[in-house]
């Protein structure tokens, strides 16, 4: 039972200075979970992912990732950040960015297999022909796809994506969601999204966050909690889709 728990949060509190951002959050992510993390802007979604990755330390509570501290456990994770802090003039091309996802340890050289995985990842996000492009010569959506490729090239056991579909066109979104479904057979995936319509189609469980954890469970039960978290009717959130989709599968 303990074995298939990948991420375990117990009573996590997090403050930025005196501002509470997360309060008493407990939940776990299990093997083969495919979870959408939703909630309003400033709800703490990015903070939650950063705590999972050991980039931020909770003020109270315990986090375990693969049964270890996040600093250890995160090595098995792939990550797509929401904000990028790097310099677009940095001397690096698409291939060299993605191969960083294959990093395994000090002094180890990248192997032929690493190169292959990079090319595969680029292929799946439709960026293979851009592999020699410098990053300053990509559109925002193309860059986002490259960063998705960097996360999946790692072949992680836990894939964490912070708004992966930002700037991605609808057709590519569809194929990336399908890719996630495929990858989900081998790894747990948690991603932040505001696209409630997509949740209805692809995802089985939802984690709804607005400082407190409002809901974590199958998407079908999430409707009223969602409204509570967002403080507005879900029709507005999902342009009228949810009645059909969020409830349809109710058993």
């Amino acid at each position: 039972m303990k074995n298939n728990t990948i991420v375990d949060f117990k009573n996590i509190f997090f403050y930025y200075g005196e501002i509470p951002v997360l309060e008493d959050i407990s939940f776990s992510i299990k093997q083969n979970d495919f979870i959408a993390i939703i909630g309003p802007n400033g709800g703490g979604k990015t903070t939650l992912l950063k705590i999972m990755l050991g980039l931020l330390k909770p003020d109270r509570g315990t986090v375990k990732v693969f049964g270890k501290n996040p600093e250890e456990g995160r090595k098995l994770a792939g990550y797509l950040p929401q904000n990028i802090y790097f310099d677009l003039n940095f001397p690096i091309n698409v291939f060299d960015i993605v191969i960083m996802g294959r990093y395994k340890g000090l002094v180890r050289k990248y192997s032929e297999k690493d190169r292959e995985s990079v090319l595969n990842a680029l292929e799946t996000v439709g960026m293979l022909e851009y592999r020699n492009r410098h990053i300053s010569m990509l559109s925002a959506g193309q860059l986002q796809r490259v960063l998705i490729a960097r996360a999946i090239a790692r072949e992680p056991e836990l894939l964490l994506l912070d708004e992966p579909m930002a700037s991605v066109d609808p057709e590519m979104q569809k194929s990336i969601y399908e890719l996630f479904l495929e990858l989900n057979k081998k790894m747990a995936i948690a991603f932040v999204t505001h696209d409630i319509g997509a949740i209805s189609i692809y995802i089985d469980s939802v984690l709804c966050l607005n400082r407190k954890l409002f809901y974590h469970g199958p998407k079908e039960g999430s409707l009223s909690k969602l409204e509570e978290a967002y403080r507005c009717p879900v029709e507005i959130l999902a342009h009228g889709i949810p009645h059909r989709v969020l409830r349809r599968h109710k058993k």
Binding site: R74, P81, F86, P91, G101, V107, K109, Y110
Partner: protein, 273 residues
């Protein structure tokens, strides 16, 4: 070019090569990681070490090594750990290093010979012993960068992602600052404390306009630095000008020209397509 027969000229040219190997490597990281100001702080703080060398009666360059390593580590720790903003920390260390240098020299009995050459450099008066120090620095820096090329590259590009995938970026950052400190020490003889930062950063700034490949960038920066340093040296001896300042002005001039060259290159490429 009869001047190149003299021994001091030969030493100067060897120094130009050795020093620009360091500059091309470390300077490239300084430029792409945008730590030019930090490097400026470290180089000025090294003056404290020079002063200490005078006071203790040892080779000021040797005394400057631990001193600038210490200031590099201090800047690195302060800037990452505390709320004290990074540029204030740099400014303080910068001034403290200079001030302690002045005090040390003041305490030194008698007159401080060729102090001026540490401030503004003189590539023509480099003793052979300093060439050995430069050689050792080259060796250390090349070894570190070759061993950890992947890691430095990843950390310079995206610190957050590097942290997640398990690269010890704090330590690497400190190692990088220490390499800056070591480069500063070997550069002091050539262009002096005040001009170090130019020789460290201008060759890479010129070359980065023409390549996006990190290894090519490093190598082309080394070559550019060597050519411009030797050319500057030659011009300075022709016109009887101070060598350090001449080298820097030549670098700056070529940097300016490189913008136009870049434009021309783009125009030519457009015509082709």
């Amino acid at each position: 070019m009869g001047i190149f027969q003299y021994e001091f000229m030969r030493n100067a040219i060897i120094a130009a090569v050795l020093v620009n190997i360091v500059c091309g490597i470390v300077g490239t990281y300084v430029v792409i990681k945008k730590i030019v100001f930090i490097s400026g702080g470290i180089s000025h703080a090294a003056f404290g070490g020079i002063g200490l060398g005078y006071l203790l009666g040892i080779n000021p360059i040797v005394a400057a090594i631990p001193f600038s390593l210490l200031s590099a580590i201090t800047i690195g720790l302060i800037s990452k750990r505390s709320k004290l903003s990074e540029d204030s920390a740099i400014g303080i260390i910068w001034a403290v290093g200079m001030a302690s240098g002045i005090i040390f020299i003041n305490l030194t009995p008698g007159y401080a010979p060729d102090l001026f050459s540490y401030l503004f450099g003189n590539i023509l008066t480099i003793p052979v012993s300093d060439l050995y120090i430069m050689l050792a620095m080259d060796f250390i820096i090349i070894l570190i960068v070759v061993l950890f090329f992947k890691e430095f590259y990843a950390v310079s590009f995206d610190e957050e992602f590097s942290t997640v995938i398990g690269i010890p970026n704090r330590i690497l950052y400190l190692v990088l600052l220490c390499m800056v400190a070591l480069s500063v020490v070997v550069l002091i003889r050539i262009v002096g404390i005040i001009l170090v930062i130019a020789l460290l950063t201008i060759p890479s700034s010129i070359c980065r306009q023409f390549t996006y490949n990190m290894k090519k960038l490093i190598i082309s920066s080394i070559v550019t630095g060597i050519i411009l340093t030797i050319t500057g040296l030659w011009i300075s001896s022709l016109l009887n000008l101070p060598s350090g300042a001449t080298i820097i002005l030549l670098l700056a001039l070529v940097f300016l020209l490189s913008f136009f060259i870049k434009k021309a290159v783009i125009a030519v490429r457009r015509l082709k397509t």
